[in-house]
Homo-oligomer: 339 residues x 2
């Protein structure tokens, strides 16, 4: 550890939090941050949401600009928790009111958000984030301070990442009960195309094909159809923004799926055999389950240059690893010296 | 009701049950039938399964032939509960030892089973059945007497269906806690291609595409991927037999899905827009949820010729209806006259 690591961590562990957008994710984050003892406040474009959040006892500013000015004064971590469709408007306020803010987000695509930050708030110290906690529900009422518990929170870990703000974001994620996967923004986008955006698209197609089968088909719909279409219940505008924002990576994943489905179709029509398709799927699912059971503890050596430390973090994520907490030594360094 | 309906129902309510095959479905059925007070016994080709079922206190014959001979003596309902791959062997024993048996099955495709029955046990009084209760688990140990509780059990309702045996199968399904959807065999096969076989195929493709994304992708896999690939954990041989047995209907469903996915791919690559695909999926899922909430009670008039009664039942199923029990009048008619 370098001499100032303790001070950076100490500040990160108590840094105030400003949450812009109080839907499922933002609303849950405000609750979880307060529950973790942080000074935290929010803002929403919806009067109804502001009223509900205040009625539940939370500190909500009258406007986004007011919340951002408070963040600038308090050197808070600003979390942009609005859908991609509203991202530009909110970032423009950040760029104006808190131009060098500590900034993160919670959206499911990292590269387009980074580009939007460069356009609207180029001076902000931005480190992208993505808690993998989406459900088919949305809005303040759907939120819960438990939402992040034991979930994965990706923290963008690129060559030019600001390590101080990176520590802020990791500390917030851990404080909310999540575990952290460090990943390069582009590698994150490729991965989520396969395990989040493609599943949403397949769920939509399956739901439409099933509904085409009429009332008898829906009456027979049991576990496989209910599970396979669950996320099709998400508001289509939210899913579209998420998927369309990750176009290149999603196209590659979709082509992979179309190739496999086409091969299955050809085999079913000719020999009738589906075993190779189904076996590949079974193997894939087994790999997922094995990955979940494979728990080992390792301590990362964070000496070296910032670039070396960032690459070590990324390599942890690439190999399926997660950050689950701080070592006792790091917390000792962060503690105020005893009198 | 016709004069003999009471006697038919009375016999159906207490008919002995012979279960051939003691895997997830057959093993659960033997448990549920015994729990419902039926005289019930089973048979299995696996020595291990026989030992386990006997150790759990169930009546298991030494051989399939012995179980079938007992069924012939007791005029029991024989339930064939083996995978499609073993269907011919078991039906051959039925054809030899109980040629005019009351016979049903629990497999997920109805037309190929009917053809197999015509080939191997042409004299049997066969009425196909399909409890929609598959899970990704299999074998005696995976079974439970609760498996059928509140689940849908399709009972084949074709023009030439034997109404006495049809009543036997419906009575067994209701006794196990299921609700009954009457459906023509071919309409059933078209429906399950869309809401069961296609979901299995999409789950396999999704699992394979996800696993191709490497360890980072699997580490990020959350709800949408876990739900969308759950049934890919089923033994691929079982899924293949089920899907391949419903080839024509599955090809049509698969082509529908491929058409929709291809359109989405084209739109994503050109305008970038996925909203129409996602909205169609959202609507489909909403239809499913609305169908589940739409509960009305109606009593079916079962006067008329057998053909008219069968068509009335099929129409109930086509419109999303279910049989949930017997009317008090029907049970009164079935009760022995008071002294």
């Amino acid at each position: 550890m370098e001499p100032d690591n303790g001070a950076v961590l100490a500040a990160a562990l108590t840094r105030p939090v400003c949450v812009l957008g109080l839907g499922l994710i933002g609303g849950s984050l405000l609750r979880a941050a307060v529950d973790a003892g942080r000074d935290a406040w929010g803002a929403s474009a919806s009067e109804t949401t502001i009223e509900k959040a205040r009625a539940d006892g939370y500190d909500v500013a009258d406007t986004v600009a007011e919340a951002v000015r408070r963040a600038a004064d308090a050197d808070a971590l600003i979390v942009v928790a609005v859908p991609l469709t509203s991202m530009d408007d909110v970032l423009a306020v950040v760029g104006k009111e808190a131009p060098d803010a500590r900034l993160t987000d919670v959206t499911s695509v990292k590269e387009p958000v980074r580009e939007a930050v460069d356009r609207w708030a180029a001076g902000a110290r931005f480190v992208g984030g993505h808690p993998m906690t989406g459900t088919e529900f949305s809005g303040w009422d759907a939120g819960s301070l438990q939402l992040f518990h034991d979930k994965v929170w990706v923290v963008a870990t690129d060559d030019d990442t600001d390590l101080d703000v990176w520590t802020d974001v990791v500390a917030l994620a851990l404080a909310c009960g999540a575990t952290v996967v460090p990943a390069a923004s582009d590698e994150h986008d490729v991965a989520v195309a396969r395990i989040s955006h493609l599943p949403h698209l397949l769920a939509a197609v399956l739901a439409a094909v099933g509904a085409d089968g009429g009332e008898l088909a829906l009456a027979l719909a049991a576990g496989s159809f209910a599970d396979g279409t669950r996320v099709a219940a998400t508001r289509p505008e939210l899913t579209a923004a998420m998927c369309e924002g990750n176009r290149a990576a999603l196209l590659a994943a979709l082509d992979d799926a179309l190739g496999r489905l086409g091969a299955a179709r050809g085999s079913l029509a000719s020999t009738g055999g589906l075993l190779s398709t189904l076996t590949a799927g079974h193997d894939g699912r087994s790999t997922l389950e094995a990955a979940r059971l494979d728990r080992r503890e390792l301590r990362i050596d964070v000496s070296g240059t910032p670039a070396e430390r960032l690459e070590a973090m990324r390599e942890l994520g690439r190999s399926g690893g997660r950050i689950i907490g701080w070592t006792a030594e790091a917390l000792d360094e962060a503690a105020p010296p005893e009198e």
